[in-house]
C-alpha cells in the first residue's frame, strides 16, 4: 500500500509514539489547569453578574464581550508576541492555561449566572431569613443547587477547552497538536499522525461529552 497511509508511514509513527504521548500529556495538563481556572473565573464573574454592584457588572460584561468576540488564536498571539514587549514573559504552558481560562471563563460566567438565576428566589430569602449573609446563602444554599443546572453546559465547555488547547500549536505550545504538526513537517508524513491525533482528542472529548449528556438527562429527570 502506497500513499499517505502506507504501512511504512504508520510504522514510522508508531516508532515515535512516545513523542506523541508527551504532547498528549501536556494537552491534558494544560486542559486540567485551564479548566480549574475557568471554573474560578466562571464562578467569580457569575456571582458578580448576579450581584448588586453595577460598576463591577459592567467590568465583567466588558471582559466577556471582548474574550467571546475575538478569536482565541489571536489572544494567544497577543500573549506570545505582544506581552513580552511589555515585559511580561510567560512560558508556553502558562500562556496556554491563561488564554484558555480567560477565553472559556467568559462563557463559563454566563453558565454560572444563568444557573444561579434558575434557583428560585425563595431559596436565597429562606437562607437570609435564618441569618445567613448574602455570601453564606450563596455558598450554602444557592450554588449547590445551581451546580445541578450548570454542570451539563459546563462539561460541554470543558470539551471545547480541550479541543481549543490545540491552538497552542501556533506558538510552539508543546502540546499534542504542536507535536503532530512539527513531527509531520519533519518526517513529511501527515496521514497517520493527524488521524491518530484526532483519535487521541476523541479519547478525552467523547467520554466528557457523554458525561455532559448523561448529566443533562439526569438534571431534567430531577427537575
Amino acid at each position: 500500500m502506497n500513499g499517505p497511509f502506507s504501512w511504512r508511514n504508520w510504522l514510522t509513527w508508531f516508532q515515535d509514539w512516545q513523542y506523541f504521548l508527551q504532547g498528549f500529556g501536556r494537552t491534558l495538563w494544560i486542559s486540567f489547569l485551564g479548566l480549574f481556572f475557568t471554573l474560578l473565573i466562571g464562578v467569580a464573574v457569575g456571582l458578580v453578574l448576579c450581584g448588586k454592584s453595577r460598576a463591577l457588572k459592567r467590568l465583567c460584561k466588558a471582559y466577556m464581550s471582548f474574550f467571546q468576540n475575538t478569536p482565541l488564536v489571536i489572544q494567544v498571539f497577543i500573549y506570545y508576541n505582544m506581552l513580552p514587549k511589555l515585559g511580561i514573559m510567560m512560558g508556553t504552558v502558562t500562556i496556554g492555561v491563561v488564554s484558555l481560562a480567560l477565553y472559556t471563563g467568559a462563557y463559563a460566567a454566563d453558565i454560572v449566572a444563568s444557573a444561579i438565576r434558575a434557583v428560585p428566589l425563595g431559596q436565597m430569602e429562606a437562607a437570609q431569613s435564618q441569618g445567613f449573609s448574602y455570601m453564606q446563602s450563596m455558598m450554602r444554599v444557592v450554588l449547590p443547587q445551581a451546580v445541578k443546572v450548570g454542570l451539563p453546559p459546563m462539561t460541554n465547555q470543558a470539551v471545547n477547552l480541550i479541543k481549543n488547547s490545540s491552538v497552542m500549536a501556533v506558538v510552539a505550545g508543546g502540546e499534542l497538536m504542536y507535536c503532530t504538526d512539527s513531527w509531520s513537517g519533519n518526517n513529511l508524513i501527515y496521514g497517520p499522525a493527524f488521524v491518530m491525533t484526532g483519535i487521541l482528542y476523541l479519547i478525552i472529548c467523547l467520554p466528557t461529552s457523554m458525561l455532559a449528556r448523561h448529566l443533562e438527562k439526569r438534571s431534567l429527570k430531577d427537575a
Partner: protein, 243 residues
C-alpha cells in the same frame, strides 16, 4: 417587642405601606388580614429588613434594624423566623439537615444541642418519621410543617408566617393550621400570621389587623374585627372572604 413608627415603604413610585404605627407585644399572636396587594407581605418583610422603610423606622427589641451594621442585622435575623407561602425548604438537604444547617453553622448551640432541638421540633410538628427524607418526597402540608420546625429550631423570639396555607391543596390545610395552633399555644414566641383562615385567627389571635391600601384600617381583638367591624372596608372584605 416590635414597634413600627410611621413606616413608609415604596417600590419605585408605588407606596405600599403608608405610615404604619404599630406595637406588637412580646409573646403575642397577631393575625393580619386584608386584600391581595394591600401590603401584608411587605409589612412582615419590613420586620426582618427584607424591605427597607423609606421613612420611619421599625424597632425590634428597641433596635432600629435599618441603622445597624450588616453583621448585626444577620444576627438579629437569627431570632426572627419566617415561614413562607412556598415553604422554601432546601431541596438538596434532608429534613433533619434543613432544620440543623443554619443553627449549627450560625452557632445557635452545639451540634448535639441543635440536633436534639431539631428532633424535638420534628416531633412537635409530627414529622419524626420523615427525618431522613428529602423535601421533594413530602407533600405540601408535610413540607410546610417541616418549614415550621426549621424556623423553630433557630430558637426565634419572633416568628412571621406569610400565608402559610395559601399554596396548599385543600385537604392539607387543616394539618398545617393544627400544627400552627399547637405551636402558638405552646411557645412563648411573638407570632404574626398573614392568613385568610378566619377560624384559625379566632382561635389563636390576641389581635387582628386589617390592612388595606397600605394602612391599618382595623386593629382589635378577633371577636370585634370579625363580628363587629368598625370600618366598612373590613365588612366588605369579610363578606368576600366568607362567601
Amino acid at each position: 417587642m416590635i414597634r413600627f413608627e410611621d413606616v413608609h415603604v415604596s417600590f419605585g413610585n408605588l407606596e405600599v405601606l403608608k405610615g404604619i404605627n404599630l406595637v406588637v407585644a412580646e409573646g403575642s399572636k397577631t393575625v393580619v388580614i386584608g386584600p391581595s396587594g394591600g401590603g401584608k407581605s411587605t409589612l412582615l418583610r419590613t420586620i426582618n429588613l427584607f424591605e427597607k422603610p423609606k421613612k420611619g423606622r421599625v424597632l425590634v427589641n428597641g433596635h432600629d434594624m435599618n441603622g445597624i451594621a450588616n453583621h448585626k442585622l444577620y444576627q438579629a435575623r437569627q431570632s426572627i423566623g419566617m415561614v413562607f407561602q412556598n415553604f422554601n425548604l432546601y431541596p438538596h438537604k434532608t429534613v433533619l439537615e434543613n432544620l440543623t444547617m443554619a443553627p449549627i453553622l450560625l452557632k445557635r448551640g452545639s451540634k448535639q444541642e441543635v440536633t436534639e432541638r431539631a428532633m424535638a421540633n420534628l416531633a412537635a410538628v409530627n414529622m419524626t418519621e420523615k427525618v431522613d427524607a428529602y423535601p421533594s418526597q413530602l407533600s405540601g402540608g408535610q413540607q410546610q410543617r417541616v418549614a415550621i420546625a426549621r424556623a423553630l429550631t433557630m430558637n426565634p423570639e419572633i416568628l412571621l408566617f406569610d400565608e402559610p396555607t395559601s399554596a396548599l391543596d385543600p385537604e392539607m390545610i387543616q394539618e398545617v393550621l393544627d400544627t400552627m395552633e399547637r405551636v402558638a399555644e405552646e411557645r412563648n414566641i411573638t407570632m404574626i400570621f398573614v392568613t385568610h383562615e378566619m377560624k384559625f385567627a379566632e382561635h389563636i389571635a390576641d389581635r387582628v389587623l386589617f390592612l388595606d391600601g397600605g394602612c391599618i384600617m382595623e386593629d382589635d381583638i378577633p371577636q370585634e374585627v370579625f363580628h363587629n367591624p368598625k370600618n366598612p372596608r373590613t365588612t366588605a372584605f369579610l363578606g368576600k372572604i366568607l362567601h
